[in-house]
Assembly symmetry: C2
Homo-oligomer: 327 residues x 2
């Protein structure tokens, strides 16, 4: 009880400071920052037609390329590759079988040549048949040790500092923040609470089937090699409806996979805000927009511009990209 009181008192203090000082210090003064602050001030101003009650302040964020980086490929793909290598001794047949053979030879490009289908095959082969607790442990072990191939950072050190500030700013203003990602829901949950202060119940992602079983009287959930929900494109509004049951008033994305989520948010009868992160910084991050290893990106950007959503240029709008190194 005392701890709960302390937490609440801490939130009160944080709210007061949030309204007073600059809550978005890593954002340059410019159109994006101005638009965000102006929207938040508008919907939190009581007694005005634009006021949105706290329970309806739902904010949704894509993850890959929006909260953390996604180059040279989705970070979950590195996890999958590492699992393939670890599991290879139990699967001698993988030496001859694509896309596994390419992974074991270290040729990631060839491994991903089969596109989404090949990636999915590898996800199924390496994620399924574990219990949810075994899988959680595998993710936790990996995320706390594996390093990015070019930056040599932990993957969780490649989250975007300005987006961390934006998440905190929204929460300090009564928003509930959700992740809505095409990535695996069980892959994200073990680390997003620490990385983004987003609890597991506010994570929406792609998911596989689960089977409840009693093993020696102990209940477990087994991951099945089948897709239950593909949380990408059309699947994002579906995932939002299924998990939240309420239309967001704030959405942030960076690719065609986020377009439907942004449309769904923009059509809210309440005031709404759509943020499109534009990867323009070849020096500090990566520059890519219309095409990437992941596929085309043109529809989302075109519609964002056509509908005057807030397009944030990482190069121009962000003072820093990643959090400062911890010494």
């Amino acid at each position: 009880m005392r701890r709960l009181l302390a937490t609440l008192i801490a939130s009160l203090a944080w709210i007061n400071s949030a309204s007073a000082a600059d809550s978005l210090p890593s954002w340059n003064e410019g159109a994006s920052k101005k638009a965000i602050i102006s929207f938040v001030e508008k919907v939190t101003k009581e007694g005005t037609p634009d006021f949105v009650p706290v329970p309806e302040r739902i904010a949704v964020f894509d993850n890959d390329g929006c909260l953390w980086a996604e180059q040279p490929m989705y970070f979950q793909a590195f996890f999958v590759f590492d699992r393939i290598k670890a599991l290879a001794p139990q699967h001698p047949e993988w030496m001859e079988k694509e896309p596994f053979a390419s992974v074991l030879k270290g040729d990631m490009k060839a491994a991903l040549a089969g596109g989404e289908h090949a990636l999915l095959e590898m996800v199924m082969a390496t994620h399924a048949r574990l219990t949810t607790e075994e899988f959680e442990k595998a993710v936790t072990d990996w995320i706390t040790t594996a390093k990015h191939p070019t930056t040599d950072k932990l993957y969780t050190e490649m989250v975007y500092q300005p987006m961390l500030e934006l998440l905190a700013y929204l929460r300090a203003n009564g928003f509930k923040t959700f992740i809505v990602s095409g990535g695996g829901i069980e892959f994200m949950r073990p680390w997003v609470e620490k990385a983004y202060c987003i609890p597991p119940e506010q994570v929406i992602g792609s998911s596989g089937g689960l089977k409840y079983e009693l093993r020696d009287g102990k209940p477990v959930l087994i991951k099945l090699p089948e897709i239950a929900h593909n949380d990408d494109k059309d699947g994002k509004p579906v995932g939002i409806q299924r998990h939240i049951g309420r239309r967001p008033i704030f959405a942030a994305g960076n690719s065609d996979g986020d377009l439907q989520m942004l449309q769904w948010t923009a059509a809210n009868t309440r005031p709404s805000f759509c943020l499109y992160i534009h990867h323009t910084d070849a020096e500090r991050e990566w520059a890519y927009d219309r095409v990437s290893h992941i596929g085309k990106l043109d529809k989302g950007l075109d519609e964002a511009k056509a509908k005057s959503w807030t397009v944030t240029s990482m190069k121009d709008d962000w003072k820093t990209i990643f959090p400062p190194d911890k010494k």
Copy 2:
């Protein structure tokens, strides 16, 4: 911002009073009440091995027969019957086709003779092809006007007062309360926030497929006549994992459909609490345990007793069943 502050300050006041006064006034002094309070005090006491941090204080509640009544049949079935009657003019074929024909003749028993399968067929026929917003309106219109056939109360007046107090008591102690019901997720969401103070994003239930579509440029989600998730029995731990991603420490149920959710909770490595509501009050509610119109109920009750979960007798443990009439 001022409103948010006011809400937080109000919660602080409420927490102080919750620890001081009796938070469960409709519960008779007895083993159930004592066990609940003792559990909550135990897990909220900092610096002890049983202490559970706030984010892990997840509580899950069945709905039908646990938070509100379920006799003479699931209340959602009455909604389905009323929709069949309303839609009948557009479906002349229903006059000849079971189970619809029986509903239209007013023979509900015959309509339900086909069991779960028949009910599901009616759910599909009456829920599907609407947009989520049209369906929400249909539920809201019905729940605010339809009356229970024998009590003549609104269905939302047939929630259990002692359970409302329990939900509030848990929340005041840092628990996040979720509904985990076999009922339709979209059927519950429009009214549970008002009835139980549970927001839509904390409702888990059975769900159908959804399809995203642009209608004249306006995005909608269409309900499809297919089951995406059956949130009953084995489906409850699956629904909990998918939505919450964390194992509950508190679960309440009243039937075989809740058994797996209770097992899943009981096997938490943290201290956990399982509550089994026993319908023993023929006078003020209904008395039924091992068999009901809904099917067998013996496994849940037997396991609750065998495992010494807290079995609450509505007749003996509850001072009142329903909230007092509003005059």
